[in-house]
Symmetry: C2
Subunit: 653 residues, 2 copies
């Protein structure tokens, strides 16, 4: 690896780069898929065995606070999980389900009385699953159908599935391995309904037999993630001790009386969900790693794959020398760099918030959740698009399983869906941005929060977008036009940041104006629905801005001069290709003139050309050991005839 690539790896490493190194030093076979063509059962067994080996490593303990028996190095935990995303994603999901989702529920929603389940989670003696989603309720978790009803006669909770749509579905670890389920259900007592809470329900005994009243189905084959046993859980009046309620945000005393530290049921629900934010951050992490693997493979291949000759040349041209091929891969590589910096920033924020020894202001917790949703959307939608591009860029070779790209695609395909459907999350992000600025106004219910003037939004947003002193400084320092900047576009970093913030601000103002009408309208749904695509567009603009700001900060923080210069060009490419993709908006709103817009398109080409000689450094900079990439595409074939085994060794004349 070149010095430059090494410096890039260091820049991408972030605060927990030592954790990354410790993973890189491990035997990649520990995290590899099974060899050959395993049956589903063989694949699942392989993944389960790998999970047991992983449980012996220190990483899971980093995800638990010292008060619950861990080290509390939460950032290390998520970083290790990110690195696992370069390995087999079945193991990655299986580990995420048990340690992350199930473990997250027990540690974040549980009380000291649940410590033994924390211990049994860490040593994997009781494998768990996270039973939230139902067949009929995916995104709308607040309306789950499963009930947990308190029975005073026996001091138990009765967990029940009232209809097929309330059946728990797609539950990882449920079809084969889990003994305990963290079941999200409507808590019902004599006093009434208390909303969604989480209850521990044993679903198998120590010998793996399904417990009475529990029906377990198998979701069967999926696009990918073959090693993960997704299943369906149906409960027929299953009784568990009252103490199994993970009662941190709402508990029952020994007479069945409900108490909660949070009075407002809506706020209580979202607070509970908010504590589970690490799942979303981890999905973003894994998506980022998988995408970098795919882009490393496709870029390496494009450097040695040759096709068609240039006039007057004997040798064919490396496909990465073609502009259309550069345009496929290099902006995607630039986006992966941008997201890696944004991810590191997010993980640091999460670490600070969740390990704080003093109470964290609700505002900060909400910012963390909003940022996690934003980066999860950005990272997983980039994964879907970029891995597809990588497959296509490798042609027929890309379609063979042996070259890994198709497994990366199939395994990550559901990332845009699980841990929050991306379209729903974007609306969450958008709404969060709106309500945030309405906070100073009277609470008038969900829609009422939007009753504020557009001028105020602008001011509040301006203040927010400039919270980072770096961004403020870069914008302030931006000359109105710097002709040579960023591939001749004239858009230096400051102007790029301004254009991104401007798009977000303008879109949000537009949505706010539209939604204000909802207050006066007879059909509030119609008004909301009419603004829905605007809301999503505003959220996308927000995501783009926070990612660019993180990348800009990452460039500034890089101390190696050569790496810093190269990162600057990569950041330019991310910024300009994003502006190019949205140039319809910039032109419609007269932020770019037609002439300037064409210059942006031309500048993306120039930047691709500038980065072409560094393509290998850029993907080496991802810091993925070759053996982890698991493909035959990294080096050119030697020009000798190979002798493969014949399909039938009894060859005849």
């Amino acid at each position: 690896m070149s010095e430059l690539a090494t410096a890039l790896t260091a820049a991408l490493g972030g605060r927990w780069s030592h954790v990354r190194d410790s993973l890189r030093a491990q035997d990649p076979a520990l995290f590899a898929p099974p060899a050959g063509e395993p049956t589903t059962e063989e694949y699942r067994a392989h993944t389960t065995a790998q999970l047991a080996l992983l449980a012996e490593q220190p990483y899971a303990r980093d995800g638990v606070l010292p008060s619950q028996g861990g080290t509390g190095d939460l950032g290390a935990n998520v970083t290790a999980f990110e690195m696992l995303g370069h390995g087999d994603l079945s193991l990655w999901v299986k580990a995420g389900v048990h340690f992350g989702l199930y473990g997250g529920a027990v540690t974040n929603l549980g009380l000291p009385r649940h410590q033994r389940w924390v211990d049994a989670m860490l040593d994997l003696s009781v494998p768990g699953c996270f039973a939230m989603t139902e067949t009929g309720h995916g995104s709308n978790v607040q309306q789950l159908g499963t009930t947990a009803t308190y029975d005073a006669a026996t001091d138990e909770l009765v967990v029940h599935t009232p209809s097929v749509t309330a059946r728990k579905d797609y539950i990882g670890n449920a079809a084969r391995d889990a003994r305990m389920a963290a079941v999200f259900a409507q808590l019902v007592t004599d006093e009434g309904e208390h909303g969604v809470h989480c209850v521990l329900v044993p679903i198998r005994d120590a010998r793996g037999r399904v417990r009475r009243g529990v029906t377990i189905g198998d979701d069967g084959p999926k696009a990918g993630l073959r090693g993960v046993d997704n299943g369906r859980l149906t409960f027929d009046h299953v009784r568990v001790p009252r103490e199994n309620l993970l009662g941190r945000y709402g508990d029952l005393d020994d007479r069945g009386r409900y108490t909660s530290p949070i009075d407002n049921p809506n706020r209580r629900f979202f607070t509970m969900l908010g504590t589970l934010v690490r799942g979303r951050i981890s999905v973003a992490a894994g998506a980022g790693a998988a995408t970098r693997s795919a882009l490393a493979i496709a870029t390496r291949y494009a450097e040695h794959r040759r096709q068609f000759g240039a006039p007057g040349s004997e040798r064919e041209v490396a496909v990465l020398d073609y502009r259309v091929h550069q345009r496929k891969l290099l902006p995607a590589v630039a986006t992966s760099y941008a997201l890696a910096f944004a991810q590191n920033e997010l993980v640091e924020l999460m670490h600070e918030v969740q390990t704080s020894t003093t109470p964290v202001p609700e505002q900060q917790q909400r910012e963390l959740e909003a940022r996690a949703a934003a980066i999860k959307v950005a990272s997983t939608s980039h994964a879907t698009a970029a891995i597809q591009t990588a497959r296509e860029a490798c042609g027929g070779a890309g379609y063979l399983s042996v070259n890994r790209l198709v497994d990366l695609k199939a395994d990550t395909d559901v990332f845009t869906t699980f841990e929050g459907d991306n379209t729903v999350l974007l609306q969450l992000v958008g709404k969060g941005l709106l309500t945030e600025f309405g906070e100073g106004f009277q609470e008038l219910g969900t829609l009422g929060r939007l009753r504020f003037g557009a001028g105020v939004v602008t001011e509040a947003l301006l203040e927010r977008t400039s919270t980072k002193s770096l961004v403020r400084r870069l914008i302030a320092a931006a000359p109105s036009r710097d002709t040579d900047a960023a591939g001749g576009s004239g858009l230096g970093r400051g102007r790029q940041l301004e254009l991104f913030a401007d798009r977000e601000r303008h879109l949000l103002e537009g949505v706010a104006r539209r939604l204000q009408r909802a207050l006066r309208a007879d059909d509030q749904f119609a008004v909301f629905n009419d603004a829905q695509d605007h809301l999503v567009a505003a959220a996308r603009a927000h995501v783009d801005r926070v990612v660019l700001e993180a990348f800009a900060a990452g460039v500034e923080a890089c101390t190696d001069p050569a790496a810093r210069a190269l990162l600057g060009t990569v950041c330019d490419l991310y910024a300009l290709s994003t502006i190019e993709a949205n140039r319809g908006w910039y032109l419609e709103h007269e932020r770019l003139t037609p002439v300037h817009s064409k210059q942006v398109v031309a500048a993306v080409n120039v930047l691709c050309g500038q980065l072409r000689p560094h393509a290998r450094d850029l993907v080496d900079g991802f810091g993925i050991p070759d053996a982890w990439l698991g493909t035959e595409l990294l080096e050119p074939l030697e020009e000798t005839v190979d002798r493969e085994p014949t399909a039938d060794p009894a060859a005849v004349a």
Copy 2:
């Protein structure tokens, strides 16, 4: 099915709708994938058995001219193959490889002496494969490395693989079943090299044993198409009789002297390839069918899947009522309609050209090839995007194999690669458009053809784009502004057609100007490369135009008033969502004002809203029997608890 849907099916049926009906009436099990979780060998055996049943049907014979023992109903053949695209795509590819590619080589490149191989192809007594692609030569077929050298001593051809990059690769039917390979190789005689020709090489004997000198490898698992045995062929000085040369465009007499009806080797090569155009047309057909299957599934699901409640309503909202969901699915449905009409037009053109009893002008043959490339690109790139969208629109349910979307995605993923990589094909289309207009000028070599004035290009193109009297009439009749037209965009059909043609024309002129510089440049490759993205953009604009024109003609030809009105709105949505996607270009080139551009965006929303009540009719109109869709997502779950078998029936307390 509603009357309206029935009328839509009739409109989409085209000239060979009776063939579609005959396929619809068949048992879908004949074309279904194997049940359960078959091993690769079991899947391949299943597909092979299905192929044998298919060989008993009349469709393959329709693909062969009467002079070679067929019926010569080529359009019926391709239409039947299109309908097969609603079934398991492994069978579809396997049939396409044997009857279409291998059969196409034998029938189109062979001579009367090869009739027995035509017969053995039709009755499947000799399964064949099409060995063109090599590991090192995918797109650049002219530079294949395999050689076929004439040995005068024995009057044989010696077929040889000189290096690993010349190994035949990804060859369907090769790894398990084929007995004969149509091998494309450089023909060499004492007189010298004659370029790429096709030779029949037996690779297995009647008992399935691999023949001496032939080495067969297995490409192993792929993303999808598990029933297709893709393999690698290496030849070690394999001898075949001279007569095995498929010599229609270049033959050897009994003294090994080369003769060809076409003197120019370049023209000979492209003429040979041109006769194989039906393969590309068939891929477009299958991609269209698979995409319609996916969109039918996702749209049916979105009609009954409910999530989140509207204010003041008890029941949750059907997800297709949300604007962002409409925007995902309905423009994709509109594009599928557009492509179906374009496909029908293409198949008719192919049928006329290939069944003509009088010699076809070269210009017409080249137009057919260009059109086939254009529609292949449009149909397969739409498949990749729309099937992905359909999967995501069905959330977790979409990720389960039982619901079919992931298999449709995995199986079709390679369609953008095989039968011509889409990016390469777009350049072919673009170059074809340019050289076509240079035809009147002196031949100055490939680049020389571009030496003409931009004014002439414009004129020639205008003439071309208005060849269809319908299009000319619609454009002439277009009022400069019709405020109510197309969702309030003011863009009626005539203006839409004009905007599409204008974009193509302007982009082509720009490319022509840029390439003219290449004639004066020292580094011609650099100039070409610098214009490559423009060339691709021009080709995309061309594809968009021909598709819109076909759709407009389809609307005009529809005789059912209600269906015609609805198709008109669908065509508006296709046109406006395409303009919306390219509005950056229209704004940059001041074809749309900022205000008008925003109206186009708003109009897409309006049109989605207008089509929402007809969504079910539109996908029913695709005419795919429910059983062929092979999914559980068509109807809502009944609201009762189901009792699935437990994973372990020995449930314990």
